[in-house]
């Protein structure tokens, strides 16, 4: 509305401006004559202008009117549109609500759909199961039909057999009837037979009885016959009996007589025996008597007091004892004689020995005497020497007395005595040697030596005391040196002996006298040979291994190379070989790693599963479309090479698929692709 007002104002202003600007031009240019005309003109123009303005006003009003109209129209239209908009908005809201509802419905439907699908799957599974059951049932039906057929056939067969059997039965019945008839006949026959048999047996019994009777009768007959014959013999027997009785009486009498006679005979025999005994006794007595007479005679002849045999026996025993004693004495004497003889022989030998000894002793004694004489001479000489020495010493002492070197003197004295002792010892030795050595040559030699010694001694005694001292000192030193040397040599000897012993212990030997032998095929040689063989085997082994398994670990090669190094000397060559093999190993490792990575990515891209080895024989599969990082499947490789799904959090949610694809279909690839499809569909639908 305001906008309308503004436009009108603007138009009026414009028209007013144009009006103002126009009239000024004619007023200035037009002369007064022409003013009228001009006035007229102006007037007309004015009028025209007025008209024009009116016209314009009219137009304006028209426009306004139109505008208003249009405005009204537009207003109305706008109102209408607003209303419509509101309506539409409401509609939209409704529609949105509906949409959401619809979406909800859709999701519900989806869920239902899922549920239905699952149901479908379940049903299909059931269907399959039922199908399988049906199939099995059909199979069983078929098998049962077959069985029925077989059974029918069997039944037919059995019917046939039954009919055949029935026929057989009839035949058998007929036969049975026949048999029965026969049996009856036979039984009748049997009865008759039995009757016959019974009659027969009766008859037999009768026959037997009759036979028995017959036998009895025969016996009776024989008895009768014998009785008859006996009866006939009776009178004869009676006669004989009488005779026999008579005989009996006679014999009895004779027997009694006989016994009487026997008794008499026995009595006589006893008497006879007694008589014989008495006779023998008589003879004995006579013999004894003779003996006794002999004894008496003996006693008289010998004059001993022998009256009885006991005395004699005593005498005899005494004599025997005496004899034994004498024998013993004899033995003892004999043994004594023998022992004496033995001792005599021993003594003789001893005597001879003793004689020899005495001879020896005598010889010894002679030698000893000679020795003693010599020694006495020597002793005399020595005493003289000693006296001389003493005299010399005394003279020295007297010389040295003023200086009072008594210890020195005594020392010198001792030294001189030592020398004396030595000389004496030497003498003794010489004597011994002279004793051993035959002849007087030695003796004279010794004596010569002795003399020389004496002379020496004399000379030494004569020489001045200083000289002797020096000499003694020199000698002593020499002796000491020699002693030291001796000790050193002894020690050396000991050391050398010990060394020799040690060498001996260690097994050293004198190659001049000894040789060392051993058996050629000894265990050490055998073992060394075996080791050499083994080493050669090992030397030959590594190369083919290099060729066969270039990927074998460098440690193994190292060990083998070490063995090889021990046996051969070409170290540098082997080192080079080792380095090259290690380099090769390194490169192979790199190539392997690259290839493995490539292979893994390809597997991942193609199958949609990333396969990782977690522990030995366990593989983790992670799908490309997994919703979470931890959603993975675990497979374990069994001992027989079969793969088994392990339970994870993710696999717990796939119970149906596991049941369907793994338990039922037993296909891991199918299961994996089903999982992939499921995950893929989930990702794309949401």
């Amino acid at each position: 509305m305001d906008l309308e007002d503004d436009t009108t104002v603007l138009t009026t202003l414009k028209s007013f401006n144009s009006f103002i600007s126009r009239p000024e031009h004619p007023q200035r240019l037009c002369p007064p004559l022409q003013l009228l005309e001009a006035a007229e003109k102006v007037h007309s123009i004015n009028r025209y202008l007025q008209l024009d303005q009116e016209k314009k006003q009219m137009e304006l009003s028209h426009k306004r009117a139109r505008y208003e109209l249009e405005k009204a129209a537009s207003d109305s239209a706008r109102d209408f549109e607003v209303d419509r908009n509101q309506e539409l908005l409401g509609k939209i809201k409704k529609l949105e609500e509906r949409e959401t509802e619809a979406a909800k419905n859709l999701s519900d439907q989806m869920e239902e759909n899922h549920a239905l699908r699952k149901n479908m799957e379940g049903l299909s599974k059931k269907m399959e199961e039922q199908d399988s059951r049906l199939n099995t049932a059909n199979q069983t039906i078929i098998s049962l039909k077959d069985e029925i057929r077989e059974l029918k056939q069997k039944i037919q067969n059995q019917d046939l057999t039954i009919s055949a059997q029935a026929l057989e039965n009839q035949e058998l019945q007929e036969q049975r009837d026949l048999q029965r008839r026969k049996y009856q006949d036979v039984s009748q026959l049997c009865q008759s037979l039995q009757a016959a048999q019974s009659s027969c047996s009766e008859h037999v019994i009768k026959i037997k009885e009759l036979e028995r009777r017959l036998a009895f009768q025969e016996q009776d007959i024989s008895i009768m016959k014998t009785v008859k014959s006996e009866v006939a013999r009776v009178p004869d027997l009676e006669k004989e009996l009488k005779r026999l009785r008579d005989d009996n009486d006679f014999l009895r009498e004779s027997r009694e007589n006989c016994s009487l006679l026997k008794e008499e005979v026995e009595g006589l025999r006893k008497k006879l025996e007694r008589m014989e005994k008495t006779k023998e006794e008589l003879v004995n007595m006579e013999l004894e008597k003779e003996k006794l007479q002999a004894w008496e005679n003996l006693g008289q002849s010998t004059g001993l007091n022998i009256r009885k045999p006991e005395d004699l026996s005593r005498e005899v025993i005494q004599i025997q004892q005496r004899e034994i004693a004498l024998k013993e004495q004899n033995y003892i004497l004999n043994s004594r004689v023998r022992s004496v003889e033995r001792s005599e022989s021993e003594l003789r030998t001893e005597l001879s020995q003793q004689r020899n000894k005495t001879l020896e002793e005598q010889k010894k004694r002679e030698t000893q005497d000679a020795l003693v004489r010599r020694l006495q001479k020597r002793v005399l000489l020595l005493t003289k020497e000693r006296d001389g020495m003493r005299a010399i010493l005394e003279s020295y002492d007297s010389e040295l007395a003023p200086s009072e070197y008594s210890p020195q003197l005594s020392k010198r004295l001792r030294e001189a005595e030592d020398i004396l002792q030595k000389t004496q010892n030497h003498n003794a030795e010489m004597e011994v040697s002279s004793v051993n050595a035959p002849g007087h040559f030695c003796l004279s030699k010794v004596e010569l030596e002795l003399e020389t010694l004496k002379q020496q001694q004399a000379s030494t005694a004569e020489s001045s005391s200083l000289v002797t001292k020096e000499e003694v000192n020199i000698l002593r030193e020499k002796i000491e040196d020699l002693e030291a040397e001796r000790q050193r040599l002894e020690e050396q000897n000991n050391i050398l002996e010990m060394r020799l012993e040690r060498h001996n212990l260690q097994g050293d030997y004198d190659p001049v006298k000894t040789q060392v032998l051993h058996f050629k095929m000894n265990p050490t040689a055998v073992a060394k040979q075996q080791r050499r063989l083994c080493a050669r085997c090992r030397m030959e082994e590594p190369r083919p291994i290099h060729k066969m398994t270039p990927a074998c670990t460098s440690d193994v090669i190292k060990i083998k190379l070490l063995c090889f190094l021990q046996t051969s000397g070409c170290v540098a060559d082997l080192r080079k070989q080792m380095e090259s093999s290690e380099l090769r190993n390194q490169r192979l490792k790199e190539v392997f790693q690259r290839k493995i990575q490539e292979f893994r990515t390809v597997c991942y891209v193609l199958t949609g599963y990333q396969i990782d080895v977690t522990t030995e024989n366990q593989y983790r599969l992670t799908s490309v479309y997994a919703e979470h990082m931890n959603d993975s499947l675990l497979f374990k490789k069994g001992s027989s090479g079969s793969m088994q799904l392990m339970e994870t959090e993710f696999s717990k949610t796939l119970g149906e698929m596991v049941a369907l694809h793994l338990h039922h279909q037993k296909s891991i690839p199918a299961f994996l692709s089903a999982v992939t499809l499921d995950l893929f569909s989930r990702q794309t639908t949401v």
């Binding site: 040690r502 097994g507 060392v516 058996f519 050629k520 265990p523 055998v526």
Partner: protein, 202 residues
């Protein structure tokens, strides 16, 4: 045994000594573990239980050597018997068991038996073998695989038999020696000793 209970002849002595070597070597091989202990069997001899090998190769080797040794003992030409234990890895001699044999060569001329009873000789031998067994306590352990050899020191003029050859004395470098007991049959006197390589730790 040809010798009677009362005396002993040269032959009997040689047999006794050879028998001692056979048992002694077996004992050493068992005690030092040169051969596995399961290859040995227990026998009773000298009134004591001893180990004898059952390894057929070793048995034949020992019988060969001991029979030859018996001959030499009879001839009185043997001076020493040495059992050398060598390390197979380094070819180093680790132990030397030496048995010095002193033969009374006069027994060769006179065949009269000596007055010594076998029982006393066997008692002496028993104590030697006991000592061999006891040496295990101080001898160093043989850690590496080892083999043994038997050396026989004989007179120089002896003709080397077939299957035998000359050898070196196989002396141990830097050794410790221990004398063991000795025994005598009055014809042969056997002094035993063992030398072993000095170890750095000892």
């Amino acid at each position: 045994m040809t010798s009677t209970l009362k005396g002993i002849t040269l032959k009997g002595s040689a047999e006794l000594v050879a028998e001692f070597f056979s048992f002694g070597i077996n004992s050493i091989l068992y005690q030092r573990g040169i051969y596995p202990p399961e290859t040995f069997t227990r026998v009773t001899h000298y009134d004591m239980s001893l180990q004898l090998t059952t390894d057929p190769k070793l048995k034949s080797y020992l019988t060969n050597v001991v029979s030859q040794l018996k001959e030499w003992l009879f001839e009185c030409t043997v001076q020493k018997l040495v059992l050398v234990i060598t390390c197979l890895e380094t070819n180093e001699v680790l132990e030397r068991w030496q048995f010095d044999i002193e033969c009374d060569k006069s027994a060769k001329e006179s065949s009269a038996p000596r007055e010594k009873s076998i029982k006393t000789i066997q008692d002496e031998i028993r104590s030697v073998i006991r000592q061999i067994t006891a040496t295990v306590t101080f001898l160093p352990l043989l850690e590496t695989p080892c083999a043994f050899d038997l050396l026989v020191y004989t007179d120089k003029d002896l003709v080397i038999p077939e299957k035998w050859e000359e050898s070196g004395p196989q002396i141990i470098n830097q050794s410790e020696e221990v004398r063991l007991r000795s025994f005598t049959t009055s014809i042969h006197k056997v002094n035993s000793m063992v030398a072993y390589k000095r170890t750095d730790s000892a």
